[in-house]
Subunit: 346 residues, 3 copies
C-alpha cells in the first residue's frame, strides 16, 4: 500500500457532507459560492455492468460499464480545498474488476492505483480538490482494459468550483441558473458480416471484437448521455429567455467540438480550468479527448436550440445531438423573418 | 411563424447599404474601422446546385450545393451592431430545399428555422450582428440533409468586425492590407469497386452513397476553395514584403490546423472571436470543425509560401494546400543559405 | 539561389558556440536565462535512413528517415535573437534527397527551399530565432514525399527561449529542473492480406504501399520517441517530488492530446508560443498536428505517472504511452487510500 510509510493526516476537524448523486444531465445540489471552510464531501459509486440500448432504430446495444448505472457517470461538485471521499463498490455479480482515475486529483494514477475493486469488493479513496475546473474521471484497470472500459461508458465529470465562484476575465462574478451535464460517448460496436450489430449475452463477451473495432479509431456511435436521443424529444433540456445555463461537456476519450445552434458560448472554459479566464463569444468550442470543459450561455430568444458536436456527420449520423427547448418572448431586433418563404418574384 | 406574436421593431431610421458579394478568396469591400452608426447591410444569396471538378487528375467531381456558385460561399463583412438582411433565393430548377444557419446570429437555429426555401422560393431574414468575430454559415435543412449539404460545399463565413477595428492584446489597433478567405471543404466522394469516383447525372443522385462514405468520417478530399489547386499556380494568392494579410479560415464540418510554411501567425484568433485577445507567434493554429478563425501575418521575406492544413497527408494527398507568392527583398539577417548544397567534404 | 541579390549581412562580431546534439528524450545543455548577447549556435544534422523496430511484439518495423538516427530528431535550444546555423549532410549511401523546414524560421519554406541535399551532399543554413516558443522542424522534399518523410520519423523540435527565460501570466519567472522531450510519431505501416506487417529490404521500398496506408488517415501506430515502449520500463523518465519538469511534446503531422495520469499541466503553452501566457491547471492539453507545445509540472507525490495521448485507444493499442517514475514522500493530505480494497460489507 503506497501510503503505508506516509505521515498520517488528521482531518477529523473538517465537516462531512454527503452528496447525493443524481442522473445526468442533472447536477447535484451545490453552492456556487462556498459558505464556510473546506469540507469532506462523501460520495458513493457502484460499478454497474448493464445492457443498454444505444440506438433503438438499429437495435444497437452495448453491455455498458458504468458508475451508478448511467453513461456518463454522475457529476460530483465540490469547491477548491474540499476533499472528495469516494466509496466505490463492485457488485458480486460483476464480470470485471474496476477502479477510478480522477483527473482532478494528484498522485497514484489519479487514485486508479488505490481503487482496484474486484467483484464483491469495495474501497474508499479520499483526495483533495486543489485545482478548480471541470475534470473527467474514468475507469482505468490497466492495459487494453483501459480504453475498453472507457469506451463502454465508464467515465464522468467532477466540477471543482473556486470557493468564491466563477469569474469572467475581469474578475466579475458569473452565476448560472442551471447546469446541463453532457457526456459524449464514442462507442465502437462490432458488426457481423451483414452490417448488423452483434448481440452479446453478457458483459465482456464483446471484448476481442471491441478491441478490433476500437483500433479503427472510427466510432460507430458518438452519443450524448449514453444513447441516441437521450436528450431530445421528451428528454430535451428546458430553459427560458434570460436564464443562464452552464453546459459541462465531458469526453473521456475522443476530441469533440460542441456548438449551440442559434446560440453561443458567452463564456467558455475550453480546457476546463477555472484558473484561466474564459474565452468569450464563441461559435464552437473544442473539448480535447480526455477532458471536460464548460460553456456558459444566457438565452435571448425562445425556441428549440440543438446542441451538437459540430462535426455534423457525428451529430446527425452518429448521434451527437441534444435539444434545449426555451420559453420566452421572441426579439425581432435580434432576428426577424422579414419575408417568409414565398414563390420568387412576387 | 415564430415571430408573429413578437413586438415589432422599427429600423427605418437606419441607413441601408448593399454589399456586393465577390468570389472567394476575395473579400467584399469594407471599412476596417466603421464610420457612422449601425447600418442594415443587404446581401443576396442564390442557392446553386452545380457539377464541380474536385480534382482534375482523378476526374473527381461533385454535384456541389452552393451559395452563389462558389465553395465556400461568399464572405459577408459587417461591423458589430450592424444588421445583415439576407435575401435567399432557390432557383426553380433546383433539386433540393435549402436554408441558412448563421453561427453569428441569435435564435431560430441561427435563422435556419426561418429560411427554408423550396425550389422556386425566396425568403428574407434580418439578424443583428452582436458578437464580433469570424463565423461560419451553412445550410441545415434537417436530419441527414444537414451533413449532406454541408459536405457538398454549402457553407461560408461572415466577419463581424468591432466598430473600432481589430486590436492586439494590449488594445493597439491592428490593420491589414489584404484578406485571404479560405474555406476548407471535406468531401466524401463515393467510389465504385475499381476505386474510380462514381459520376452522377444530377444533384442528389449521390445521396445514399454519400451518406455511406460520410459515415466513415474519412474524407476522400479536403480542399481549399472547392477543388484541388484552386489556390495554387495561376490562382496563387499574391502579396509583398511588408504587407499584412488577414487569413480567414472556415471549416464548417471537420477540424483543421492551418500553417503558413515559412511564415507564422503573428496574431491568431483561433476560436474566431474578436472579444478575445489574439494568440501570438503561432506556428500552426487550430480551427474546430464548425467554425472560422483568423490569423494575421506580415510578410518579411519574398518567395513562395505554402499555406496548408498541417496534417500533411491532408495537405498533399487530399488537397489542402494554397500558395502565396510574395514579392520583395530577401533579408539575409533572417535567413541565409550559407553554403548551397554541394558534395560533402569539399 | 534566392539570396544572390540580397544585401549581405556581417555577423562576424557574434560569438559562435557549438551545441552538442543529444538523443531524445534528453535536451541539450542550455541556459534558461541567456547570459550575454545573441550568439550563432552551430548544430549538425546527418540524415540517416535506418531500419527501426516499431513494436517488438508484432515485429512491426519501418525504414525510418531520421535526423541523427533518432525519432524524433534531436532538440535544438537557443534564445530569442540567437542564430541557428545548421549543417545538414546526407550520406552517400542514402536512398533519398532530404531537406529541413524549421517552423521557427522565416522565409524560403522555413529553409526547406535552401537545404535540398542529395545523397553525398551537404548544405549550411543560418536563420534567426525571432519567435520564442517550441516549434517543429521536419523534412519537406516536395509533393507526396513530404508526408512520406514526416510519417517516417523525419521531424523534431526547436525551443527558442525568451532571453530572460519563461514567465507565468503575471510575469513571474518559471524555471524547470529537467526537460522531457517527447516526439509523438504516427506511422502508417502497410500490412499484407493476413494482417502481418510487410518487411521491406531497403528504405523507400514501402513508398507506394505507405501512401495507400497514409491516405486512410488512420495510423497503425502512434508512438513516443519512435517505438512502442521507448519511454517505459527501463527507459522510463525519472523525477522526484518537488522537481519541475518541462514536457515538450512535438507532433509534426497529427493532432494529439497529452495527459499526465495522476498529475497536471500547471503551466501549459498549448500552441507552443512563449509570447502567450501559459494556460494553467490543465488536465489534458492539445497539440495541433504540425506543432510542438510545452507543459510544466511540479511533482507532488511519488509513484509511477503515465504520460499518454488521452485518446486511450491511441495510448494503449497504438502505443502512445510513457512513464515517469517519481521518488519522494507520499502526501496523505492530497490523497489517501482510506480503505484498501476489501470484501464488501465488512
Ligand atoms: Cu471499469
Ligand atoms: Cu484519464
Ligand atoms: Cu442546402
Ligand atoms: Cu452550424
Ligand atoms: Cu527527408
Ligand atoms: Cu511544417
Ligand atoms: Mg426502431
Ligand atoms: Mg497537483
Ligand atoms: Mg477539464
Ligand atoms: Mg488529368
Ligand atoms: Mg447572443
Ligand atoms: Mg469563429
Ligand atoms: Mg515479441
Ligand atoms: Mg517572422
Ligand atoms: Mg509550437
Amino acid at each position: 500500500k503506497t501510503t503505508v510509510s506516509a505521515a498520517t493526516v488528521d482531518l477529523s476537524h473538517l465537516p462531512r457532507v454527503k452528496q447525493e448523486m443524481v442522473m445526468p444531465p442533472m447536477a447535484p445540489k451545490h453552492e456556487q459560492v462556498a459558505t464556510g471552510g473546506p469540507k469532506i464531501v462523501e460520495v458513493s459509486f457502484v460499478t454497474e455492468e448493464r445492457l443498454m440500448v444505444v440506438d433503438e432504430d438499429t437495435d444497437a446495444k452495448i453491455w455498458a460499464l458504468t458508475y451508478n448505472g448511467s453513461v456518463p457517470g454522475p457529476m460530483i461538485i465540490v469547491h477548491e480545498g474540499d476533499y472528495v471521499e469516494l466509496t466505490i463498490s463492485n457488485p458480486e455479480n460483476s464480470v470485471f474488476e474496476h477502479n477510478i482515475d480522477f483527473h482532478a486529483s494528484t498522485g497514484a494514477l489519479g487514485g486508479g492505483g488505490l481503487t482496484h475493486v474486484l467483484p464483491g469488493e469495495e474501497a474508499v479513496l479520499r483526495w483533495k480538490a486543489t485545482k478548480p475546473g471541470v475534470f473527467v474521471y474514468h475507469c482505468a484497470p490497466g492495459g487494453a482494459m483501459i480504453p475498453y472500459h472507457v469506451c463502454h461508458g465508464m467515465n464522468g465529470a467532477v466540477m471543482v468550483l473556486p470557493r468564491d465562484g466563477l469569474k469572467d476575465g475581469d474578475g466579475n462574478a458569473l452565476t448560472y441558473d442551471q447546469i446541463a451535464y453532457i457526456g459524449e460517448q464514442d462507442y465502437y460496436l462490432p458488426m457481423d458480416e451483414d452490417g448488423e450489430y452483434i448481440q452479446y449475452e453478457s458483459a465482456g463477451e464483446d471484448y476481442s471484437d471491441s478491441l478490433d473495432a476500437m483500433r479503427t479509431l472510427i466510432p460507430t456511435h458518438s452519443v450524448f448521455n449514453g444513447a441516441v436521443g437521450a436528450l431530445t424529444g421528451e428528454n430535451a433540456l428546458k430553459s427560458k429567455v434570460g436564464d443562464t445555463v452552464l453546459m459541462i461537456h465531458a469526453q473521456a476519450n475522443r476530441d469533440t467540438r460542441p456548438h449551440l445552434i442559434g446560440g453561443h458560448g458567452n463564456f467558455v472554459w475550453e480546457g476546463g480550468s477555472f484558473t484561466d479566464s474564459p474565452q468569450t463569444g464563441m461559435e464552437t468550442w473544442f473539448i480535447r479527448g480526455g477532458s471536460a470543459g464548460a460553456a456558459m450561455y444566457t438565452f435571448e430568444q425562445p425556441g428549440v436550440y440543438a446542441y451538437v458536436n459540430h462535426n455534423l456527420i457525428e451529430a446527425v449520423l452518429l448521434g451527437a445531438s441534444a435539444h434545449f427547448v426555451v420559453e420566452g418572448e421572441w426579439d425581432n431586433d435580434l432576428m426577424e423573418q422579414v419575408v417568409a418563404p414565398r414563390p420568387m418574384g412576387v
